[in-house]
């Protein structure tokens, strides 16, 4: 009984989270350019999408930024989390406070202040300035994800490894890191997600001609979102889903035996 209830609960949340995605997918097949009207079924937006060089370029930029910024932020953030965790109470409070600042600020404040910073330093606006900004707002998500795991960590296992003669680095990679992995992973995931979605900060730190999907979509808002964007979202969604399923179906799938 409780099992059934659980499944229903998971399913309900699932529906809640996917209802808009379903809507986007349906809209991508809508022959009418308007979001509000069904004009018949069509594939034409998919065909037009691939001819649209600007959108494809924006897609490349978006993914490159998301991957680079999330990976760099994860490395800096994880190392920082471990270091902060070992600090004394005051140090920890200060640096956790600093960590929270990018999240405290309204995005627009972060965006404009970073723009001012880059102007002061005389940096050329372009891909690099966006990347730096993305790493900056991604690090806190990593630290906030890793911290709870670190707090649960039993320090004696690491010490035990050291006592047994393991060099610190090895002890860290063999004992501490596996324990932190879920936190690191979800931090990476969140950083990746935040980078994909950001508009305001990207807008103020980007250079001419460098677009991400978000900045493209927002600039389309005034004249109406182009249906190609729905088509692209659908494609991204479907391909990520398929990739996830494929990767998860790799051999040694023990779950089958377990059932």
């Amino acid at each position: 009984m409780t099992n059934v209830l659980r499944k229903i609960y998971v399913a309900l949340i699932f529906i809640f989270l996917y209802a808009p995605i379903g809507t986007l997918i349906v809209l991508s097949f809508n022959a009418s350019k308007s979001r509000a009207k069904w004009g018949g079924f069509t594939f034409k937006w998919y065909a037009e999408l691939f001819q649209n060089e600007a959108i494809m370029q924006a897609l490349t930029n978006t993914i490159l930024l998301a991957v680079l910024s999330s990976v760099i932020a994860t490395i800096i953030g994880t190392v920082a989390a471990i270091a902060i965790n070992k600090m004394n109470r005051t140090g920890r409070t200060i640096w956790m406070g600093v960590t929270n600042i990018p999240m405290l600020n309204a995005e627009i404040v972060t965006g404009i202040s970073l723009m001012l910073l880059f102007i002061t330093v005389g940096m050329r606006f372009g891909f690099v300035t966006i990347l730096l900004s993305h790493i900056t707002f991604n690090i806190p998500y990593v630290i906030l994800s890793v911290m709870p795991r670190l707090k649960q960590l039993n320090p004696s296992t690491y010490e035990a490894a050291l006592d047994l003669g393991a060099p610190p680095l090895k002890a860290f990679f063999k004992v501490v890191l596996p324990d932190l992995a879920p936190g690191i992973f979800s931090g990476l995931l969140m950083a990746f997600t935040m980078s994909l979605d950001d508009f305001i900060i990207t807008h103020f730190t980007k250079g001419p001609g460098v677009d991400t999907l978000s900045t493209k979509i927002y600039s389309e808002v005034r004249k109406g979102i182009k249906p190609e964007m729905y088509a692209l979202s659908t494609l991204i969604f479907v391909s990520v889903l398929i990739l996830l399923l494929l990767v998860n179906r790799t051999p040694k799938d023990k779950s089958k035996n377990k059932v």
């Binding site: 999240m103 910073l117 709870p148 978000s214 969604f237």
Partner: protein, 274 residues
């Protein structure tokens, strides 16, 4: 001693990074917030919060983001428990499935909710077909709450799921062996152990919800002014960066207060880390 050196070495990249890209920009915000157009020192931009329209925007934003955070917590906790209890290879995939919607553009997803909720939207057409009364929440605070919960729920699920996974099942079994029922086990063991995750989740939901302006524009029909809208308007329409920065500073104070409050509940977590 050696450990300490290593530690400061590990902390240094982040410390340098945050000085360059967090603290210096923050000082710029403070500078704008504490000066007027001629560059003279003033507290006017801070005290501007007491203007009735700002107080109102702030309190509505606090109320709505608080409600959204509570709803997110109530929805996410059971879900995280169910997911954490799943055995085998598939559980990670399922967690990913709950994050996946966020990889679609935020603006597109929020616009999609508009399509769903509108007077003649998808949901109402279905309800009409079933001869049920129409759902009229678009352009009301309820739609804003829905938008907030929808957009920030995954931020609550992930950290709670993470800490729940880490709880040693033996502890729970031991409690049960000692005669605690499910409810007691949850109250005495699971819940206290998961507090760090809850705190992370609350921070990650409450803060962006408090500062959002796009959700209230798209789903609230711009009829409800949140403090995020005011700040956005000051920066982008009024071009008054001084007032915008000043109000952001006030907002930061509120967020810091809320974090201190949560930190008080976090005493256990801090203690065990020491």
């Amino acid at each position: 001693m050696k450990n300490k050196k290593l530690n400061s070495l590990m902390a240094s990249p982040y410390i340098l990074w945050s000085i360059a890209f967090i603290i210096i920009p923050l000082i710029m915000v403070f500078y704008y917030g504490l000066t007027d157009k001629d560059g003279a020192f003033t507290l006017e931009n801070i005290t501007a919060i007491t203007a009735p329209e700002h107080i109102k925007a702030l309190s509505i934003a606090l109320l709505l983001s608080l409600i959204s955070t509570v709803i997110c917590l109530l929805l996410a906790y059971p879900l995280a428990m169910i997911l954490a209890n799943m055995k085998g290879n598939q559980d990670k995939l399922i967690v990913l499935i709950f994050i996946l919607p966020m990889w679609m553009n935020f603006l597109l997803r929020t616009l999609a909710w508009q399509t769903l909720l509108e007077k003649s939207g998808v949901i109402n057409q279905v309800l009409e077909f079933l001869h049920l009364p129409a759902l009229e929440i678009i352009n009301t605070p309820y739609a804003i709450i829905l938008g907030m919960v929808y957009n920030f729920l995954p931020f609550m699920i992930l950290p709670i799921y993470n800490v729940l996974c880490k709880i040693d099942p033996n502890v729970i079994n031991a409690a049960k062996d000692l005669g605690a029922n499910n409810f007691m086990t949850f109250i005495k063991i699971t819940l206290p152990l998961s507090i760090p995750g809850i705190i992370s989740g609350i921070t990650m939901v409450f803060v962006p919800a408090l500062t959002t302006f796009i959700i209230s524009n798209l789903l609230g029909g711009s009829k409800i002014l949140l403090i995020g809208n005011v700040i956005e308007q000051e920066f982008l329409q009024a071009n008054n960066w001084h007032l915008g920065s000043g109000l952001s500073m006030v907002l930061m104070i509120f967020i810091v207060i809320s974090m201190i409050v949560t930190a008080i509940f976090d005493k256990d977590g801090e203690g065990s880390a020491l």
